[in-house]
Symmetry: C2
Subunit: 341 residues, 2 copies
């Protein structure tokens, strides 16, 4: 178990606790600037794993803060040379390395047009950090594994802290301050289950991940993690979108990982179980219930589940890689920093 | 060739021409209201094929009009009961049937919070049309095939007309007025090529579609069309996102449909050909070039390509269905109207 990926997965509870403490004043300063500027929308610029963190933020900030949130399309600027008026927005670039030219370009444009700008990055002296007005470092320590884990969950923690301060929702804020403990329990509880599950997935060439609402970020990030480490074909869907067409292409025996944490999406996910069963798909439940294949540990607020539910999925990616005799630290044909323009 | 789907595919040039003529005054009224209201962002609410049309609009309206565009997350309202302040926005619901409760809920919320609201729908007396302040009907005639085609391209045409009027870009507006002719040529030119291609894809259980920028809508909609009619596992990617991890899971011989219309995304797509070749994937080029597997017909402006490039993909979905002995008008387990909450 001397894999870099494995070790970084288990560093997450500590990393989450650290960023929530050490990052708090920077987060407060950003929220205050944004509120003073009377911003009317939040725009997020990200790629890959960071983009999945942005999907979490899209739901979270709309639900808790009531501000419309958009995910930018960087090629609008980099390829098509568009000038977008971001002047009434808070525009946040998210990048582990802070090296993505396209993300920097969005932030530069936004700053020029008068927006409040911020960078969430694990690399404090990166180009992205230098481009944005506010910098919120992940403080996760160097991430050596190609598959990002601790930079993902610390980014989620930063977004959750923004939402807590912005909304003034103290129950959510308190639950957030305990989430690192829940994360520790989630890792310990789920690992034996996930290890057994990985063995049964040895031959699976294709899998689905499904969730709804803020938990969609978990489904999409789980799919990316498993795809990049194991080479499995992964598709991820919102349960609502799945019913609009793609369900027609689910073949017999396809493993479908259903993320059904306690809360408002649970009933929809339960309904989906029946629909997948009639197609003879293999339904794998991740939930806090007794009939779960993988037990999810429940944080104090449903909206924090994405910080803890991704952990068993990361462990599944790791154990499936090992089960298949692959190297979890060196996925076929990937490198740590992907620079797109 | 008496399939409903096949006939509706060929109705599109006429339907596009019709909506651009008959719909113009309603589009003008909407743009004038939005400009008078000094809106700072545009929000789009849609599911399935309509959501793919919204992806086109996201790029188009940002590039040509410089307004930030977001895709809403309906469950924020329907499941999580959030109140979002859309007051400085133009919020457009897109739904062929106009029956989706979640889309109606977003529009109702937006209207209540003081936004300018509009519905793009093929059903003029639908709940969605009654909920929004402005109604832009697709005027595509009843769409009987489960797989939407003419409501997709007429929705794109409406968005293109909004962009033309909003931006005052007369070259784009002129090119738009000729796009139905280009669409007719695209259907005629590509069909024999697509028919031959379908035969070679008989055994393909999985395919990828890739594009970049505004053409991403084509890749995603092509994947949905082929998935729902043929049951093939489809994945679709922006070429930039594909390089951030998922490229690791592309297996030998996987057919990769690369949409590379003339214009600013072409160089990126060409670069990708080499990267896919080293993985021994099967690269299928859709482009206007001599080496294309399927020839794309080029409209007068690159940003109109999504209206014509989807046509060969729809034909591919149809011919692959027929080649495999399936019924194109009755995809396994789907119905025309999917109501999600």
């Amino acid at each position: 178990m001397s894999s870099v990926l494995y070790n970084e997965i288990f560093e997450q509870p500590t990393a989450i606790q650290r960023i929530l403490t050490e990052g708090r004043s920077a987060t407060e300063a950003l929220v205050q600037t944004a509120k003073t500027a009377d911003i009317r929308f939040i725009a997020l610029a990200a790629r890959g794993t960071s983009d999945n963190a942005a999907i979490y933020a899209k739901y979270l900030l709309q639900i808790l803060c009531g501000v419309p949130v958009l995910l930018t399309a960087p090629s609008v600027h980099t390829l098509y040379g568009a000038t977008v008026d971001y002047s009434k927005g808070l525009v946040i670039g998210v990048s582990q390395s802070g090296a993505g030219e396209d993300i920097c370009e969005v932030i530069a444009q936004a700053r020029k047009s008068g927006a409040v700008t911020a960078a969430i990055t694990n690399t404090e002296n990166s180009k992205l950090a230098q481009t944005a007005e506010h910098v919120l470092p992940c403080r996760a320590g160097v991430e050596r594994a190609v598959a990002a884990t601790k930079t993902y969950t610390t980014t989620l923690a930063i977004f959750a802290q923004i939402a807590a301060i912005w909304s003034g929702n103290s129950a959510f804020g308190e639950a957030l301050n305990n989430v690192h403990d829940v994360a520790q329990t989630a890792l310990e509880t789920s690992e034996p289950q996930v290890q057994a599950l990985a063995k049964t997935l040895y031959h699976a060439e294709k899998m689905l991940t499904v969730a709804r609402g803020p938990h969609l970020s978990t489904a999409i990030e789980a799919a990316l993690k498993i795809a990049e480490t194991t080479g499995t074909t992964m598709q991820s869907f919102s349960s609502a979108d799945l019913l609009h067409g793609p369900i027609a292409s689910i073949a017999v025996r396809t493993p479908c990982l259903l993320f059904a944490p306690a809360g408002k999406s649970a009933a929809d996910m339960e309904e989906l179980v029946g629909k997948l069963a009639t197609r003879n798909a293999r339904v794998i439940r991740l939930s806090p219930n007794a009939d779960a294949d993988v037990t999810l540990t429940t944080p104090g607020d449903e909206l924090l589940s994405p910080l803890t539910d991704i952990l068993p999925a990361q462990l599944l990616a790791y154990h499936l890689t090992v089960t298949r005799g692959l190297d979890p630290d060196n996925p076929r044909g990937l490198s740590k920093v992907t620079v797109t323009r």
